[in-house]
């Protein structure tokens, strides 16, 4: 496998010979190669097919701005579509495949599109595919979708790990070319905390691709010496393979470091990539400039690339795309490619310069005032047709062509905060505008200083200004300072099939059509033709399109304007944006104090927010969840059950104004709640809608414990702090969330007191007289362990809630189980909890759904009229107090075997079944072992006056249509005798 196009020198490591495959064929390259440079060295120019016309394509560039040479890198779960061969580092065993072609890259059946290009112009699809109407979805679209896209995903889960990190610095320098390195040296030597980042795997920027001298030596020597100095500074952090993808608010930058992409796979324990959030006090953008092409007929053949790219391949990668190369340029820089390639022994067929006064050469022919008017060579350039200054034609044999249309400063990040660049007539390019992201300055070629000396000088200045450094600077290294002049020449007259956006196949002809049809603003042009919307985001094509539109519209380029530059600077793996937050780590998992005990017990768990709660506890022989849940309900109501209710929010409220404060946040009264008593509280939002309910227990004169629902714990806490800090800042009250500090268990059932008397220390009287319904107290258990006891009941049975510091929760649960054996104590989970509260008619989250009021919940009278509280005023609005307002009721099927479905709607028994006649809906449903039938809670228009009415319950989406009766929501023990026992 000879690399016939290898040259001498370069930065490749010839001691490393790397084997790789492309489209199944084996090749060899060297360390430091990219996939593109290695393929070119092996005389492979054809690397891809374009999106629409499937035209054969080779690399246009040598960098991340590449539109054509996109491959599927790797295979299996690590397959990465749309990978730029120009930046993919070569490694031993690399395997890549071309994309968007069938059956092969050389013979692509879809290339037939190219023959029909006349019909497939920009926007053609808006004008057709409409008839017959059904055909769009059944015929046209499937075909279009199959042909669309470029690379394929493997459809398997991404097997690599990604990480996220945070860095802080005084100065972030984006780009390690001559300007960036000089800025880093200046800043680093001053002691500032510096981060120098470059997307490339080597430092040096453009210097790596040129044959410039610095201090009269190869520039590489200066680069290496600088890096050695910077590495030794502990206040400087060097980051290669790191693309700064976006400039976000307040000096926060996103950067992606490709830790392992240059290896066959990440080393064990290492991430593939890292997303860095960099907090930079100041930033210098030293991102360089990108060359732009000239548009001419058939300017997209494999082998035609940017002149600077050919130089990069030759000087850095010791590879030439062909042995016979032509140059087409409108400026002096293009000639550099001819000089360098000639010196490397490559034949320069001609330098075709649009300028009549182009510089001549003794080494090769320069055609002054000439233009390329066409090319030949479908699978690879073979000839160029050139029109000379005198109008005569010449055919030039060449297998590669370097195009130089000038340079565009890489201004992108300067515009990430809606800034716009400014047009510079001298450069015929956009340069950074006036309004930059705060803290950012620009230097070097990115600022429009295209000479090496300019870059070095600028870098020093930028660092000094950014950090406010005074004093003299070290002597600047010597470097070339060639003047840069640019006469705009965007396209060759009369060209039509001349490509602007090579990936999306947008030609000069398309821009003209866009103008003809009235899509003349730069945004309309972009959207109508899709110019600049491909994976390269128009880095080498936007300006050409703009220039042509400007000409057609009779405007200057800055008048036409640019589209918005947005992050990410280059496409970024979705995996790295997610980092480790995936799979089971997507959210934290919160475990209750009794979790491990419950696990041992065989509990089935359910996610409740971020918590895992036991849903039910199956025992031997139970095969269906209903068996477990029914048993748990029956056992609790018959004897005693225990349920972990730690997850419900607990908020400690302390201070001399604690009661007054609670009086403001609850709609019912709390000012006069006696010490040692608990009261149910309903909290309204300021708009009068029920927000949350719970209890407030007055353990002491200035000490309450407030409970909330599990789901709303955070929200209620936030709300209470708002009321405290923003509305009543002088109330003497403090709040603290104690949800996780206390393990809290409900002990419910006729034997609950008897069980608790076995663990509560004898000092405490919890008989019905000593500790009546809705009492609370600080107590001790198990011989002195401090605890809290609340006599509240969610189940409707005689019940208590006992709380101990969370670290004792596991032990307490085990103790309760041991002591409760004599009562056949039954642990119950959230399902049984839910069944019992539905049987009792207690509203819960399903009923407090954010649209219901106290009135709807049957608690209208709870909203005190004698004191102000959050929400009380707006709860008076007429719309919330209508005669036909929804009221909470119970639903029972007439036939005990019928289902009740939450989400079902209530209809009049003999009335139409549609939305206009909707009477209400079911919020909660469960099978009630106590009633041996399904039951439900819900809301019904004027429900409290319709008890006993027979209605229909319909749930069309689950095929339900049954007869039901409207009953009181309190299915069992409506008088409440059991909980007061």
């Amino acid at each position: 496998m000879t690399q016939v196009n290898r040259l001498k020198g370069g930065q490749i490591d010839r001691t490393q010979t790397l084997n790789f495959t492309f489209d199944g064929k084996s090749y060899q390259g060297h360390g430091g190669d990219t996939l593109a440079s290695a393929l070119l060295a092996n005389n492979v120019r054809l690397m891809g097919r374009s999106f629409k016309y499937h035209r054969p394509r080779g690399p246009l560039t040598a960098g991340s701005e590449e539109p054509n040479a996109l491959v599927e890198l790797r295979s299996g779960a690590r397959q990465e579509p749309n990978t730029r061969a120009t930046t993919a580092e070569l490694f031993e065993g690399l395997s890549a495949n071309s994309q968007n072609r069938w059956p092969s890259l050389k013979f692509d059946a879809m290339a037939i599109n190219d023959r029909f290009s006349n019909f497939l112009t920009a926007g053609f699809y808006y004008k057709t595919f409409m008839w017959p109407a059904a055909f769009w979805e059944k015929v046209y679209e499937p075909i279009i979708r199959k042909a669309a896209g470029l690379g394929s995903l493997s459809m398997q889960a991404d097997p690599d790990e990604y990480d996220k990190g945070f860095r802080h610095c005084d100065l972030l320098i984006i780009g390690a070319g001559p300007s960036g390195i000089m800025a880093a040296l200046t800043a680093g030597r001053s002691g500032a905390q510096v981060i120098l980042a470059d997307e490339d795997f080597a430092f040096g920027g453009r210097l790596n691709s040129e044959t410039f001298a610095i201090n009269d030596e190869a520039a590489d020597i200066w680069v290496q010496a600088s890096i050695v100095e910077l590495s030794a500074l502990s206040n400087v952090r060097l980051m290669t393979r790191t693309t700064v993808i976006g400039a976000f608010d307040h000096g926060i930058y996103g950067a992606v470091e490709r830790v392992s992409d240059h290896l066959i796979q990440p080393k064990s324990g290492k991430p593939r990539q890292i997303l860095w959030r960099i907090y930079a006090a100041k930033t210098i953008l030293a991102a360089g400039a990108t060359e732009r092409p000239i548009a001419f007929e058939n300017n997209d053949r494999p082998g035609i690339m940017l002149a600077s790219a050919i130089r990069s391949y030759a000087n850095r990668w010791a590879a030439t795309p062909a042995q016979r190369i032509a140059i087409f340029t409108n400026n002096d820089d293009g000639h550099r490619t001819a000089t360098d390639l000639h010196a490397a022994g490559v034949k320069i067929a001609a330098v075709i310069d649009t300028r009549a006064d182009a510089p001549r050469s003794l080494d090769y022919e320069v055609l002054q005032g000439a233009q390329v008017t066409d090319t030949k060579g479908r699978l690879g350039l073979s000839f160029a047709e050139v029109e000379l200054a005198d109008g005569s034609m010449r055919t030039i044999e060449c297998n590669a062509m370097g195009i130089s249309g000038g340079w565009n400063p890489n201004v992108h990040l300067t515009c990430h905060q809606r800034g716009r660049p400014t047009w510079d007539d001298g450069l015929a390019a956009f340069v950074p505008g006036e309004i930059l992201p705060p803290g950012m300055s620009v230097t070097g070629a990115a600022l429009g200083h295209l000479s090496t000396h300019g870059a070095l000088e600028n870098g020093v200045k930028a660092a000094k200004t950014a950090l406010g450094l005074k004093g003299r600077t070290a002597k600047l290294p010597s470097a070339e300072d060639a003047p840069v002049t640019q006469t705009p020449f965007w396209y060759v007259e009369g060209c039509s099939r001349a490509w602007l956006d090579q990936q999306n196949d947008v030609t000069v002809k398309d821009v003209k059509l866009s103008h003809q049809e009235g899509f003349r603003s730069v945004e309309h042009l972009k959207r109508y033709t899709t110019l600049g919307m491909a994976t390269d985001q128009g880095k080498t094509s936007n300006l050409g399109g703009l220039a042509i539109m400007a000409e057609l519209a009779g405007k200057s380029i800055p008048e036409v304007g640019t589209t918005i530059f947005r992050p990410p600077y280059t496409p970024t793996a979705i995996g790295v944006m997610a980092g480790r937050i995936r799979g089971m780590d997507f959210h934290p998992t919160r475990l209750t104090p009794s979790h491990y005990w419950a696990k041992e017990r065989g509990a089935v768990f359910v996610e409740v927010g971020n918590w895992l709660r036991a849903q039910w506890f199956p025992i031997e022989g139970e095969t269906h969840w209903r068996q477990s849940v029914d048993r748990e309900v029956a056992a609790t109501r018959a004897s005693v059950g225990v349920c972990d209710c730690t997850t419900l929010g607990k908020i400690d409220v302390q201070g001399t104004d604690a009661a007054a404060f609670l009086n403001k946040v609850y709609c019912n009264g709390f000012a006069k709640l006696a010490v040692g008593k608990v009261r149910y509280g309903l909290m309204l939002r300021e708009d009068g809608i029920a927000m949350d309910d719970g209890t407030a227990a007055r353990l002491d004169e200035d000490h309450f414990v407030v409970t909330t629902t599990t789901a709303n714990a955070g929200k209620v806490y936030q709300h209470m702090e708002f009321v405290r800090q923003c509305l009543y800042p002088d109330l003497d009250v403090q709040l603290i969330s104690t949800t996780e500090s206390w393990a809290q268990y409900a002990v419910a059932g006729p034997n609950s007191r008897a069980l608790l008397q076995k663990i509560i220390d004898a000092d405490y009287d919890i008989t019905n007289e000593g500790f009546p319904f809705m009492a609370c107290a600080n107590i001790t258990v198990c011989g002195g362990l401090r605890a809290r006891l609340f006599r509240i009941s969610f189940s409707g049975e005689l019940a208590f809630e006992v709380a101990v510091p969370a670290r004792y929760g596991d032990a307490l649960m085990r103790k309760l189980m041991v002591e409760g054996e004599e009562f056949n104590v039954t642990p119950y989970g959230t399902e049984a909890l839910g069944v019992m509260r539905i049987e009792k008619g207690h509203a819960a989250g399903n009923e407090l759904n954010g649209t219901t009021t106290a009135l709807n919940l049957g608690m209208g009278r709870m909203v005190s009229k004698i004191k102000d509280s959050i929400g009380s005023k707006l709860s008076e609005r007429e719309g919330l107090n209508e005669a036909e307002a929804l009221k909470m009721i119970g639903i029972k099927p007439i036939d005990g075997n019928d289902k009740v479905t939450a989400g079902g709607h209530l209809m009049n028994k003999d009335g139409p079944v549609n939305a206009t006649h909707d009477q209400g809906y079911v919020t909660s449903a469960a099978f009630s072992p106590s009633l041996n039938s399904m039951i439900g809670l819900g809301f019904l228009k004027n429900g409290d006056e319709r008890l006993g009415e027979k209605m229909r319950l319909v749930s069309p989406v689950t095929d339900l249509n049954v007869d039901v009766e409207i009953v009181s929501a309190h299915f069992i023990d409506p008088e409440g005798g059991r909980q007061r026992a």
């Binding site: 608010d249 926060i252 708009d687 936030q718 708002f722 800090q725 707006l874």
Partner: protein, 95 residues
């Protein structure tokens, strides 16, 4: 974004939860004659400026204080940060 907490120094805004316009501190007098109309205005009507806005942020992942931040809604530049309880007291809110 970075919010310069008066007590804790610069913090990433991701530590906070956003509520809305700081006019929410100016809860109307429920005993006034025009109370219902006042409360509707308070709860629902907003300046929504394209420019400087005083807004409420809750430091949920930090010290749980409410802050009044003055921020430009066009540029996101933050020009002032105060403790909300101080702002509340300044406009006469007390008990």
């Amino acid at each position: 974004m970075i919010i310069n907490h008066p007590l804790l120094g610069p913090r990433d805004s991701a530590e906070f939860v956003y509520l809305g316009d700081a006019s929410l501190i100016e809860r109307p007098d429920p005993a006034a004659e025009t109370a219902l109309v006042d409360f509707v205005d308070y709860a629902y009507m907003r300046e929504n400026p394209a420019g400087s806005l005083r807004e409420l942020w809750f430091h949920e992942a930090g010290d749980r204080s409410w802050l009044v931040v003055t921020r430009n809604t066009m540029t996101h530049e933050i020009s002032d940060v105060q403790m909300a309880c101080d702002v509340a007291r300044k406009i006469g809110r007390s008990k």
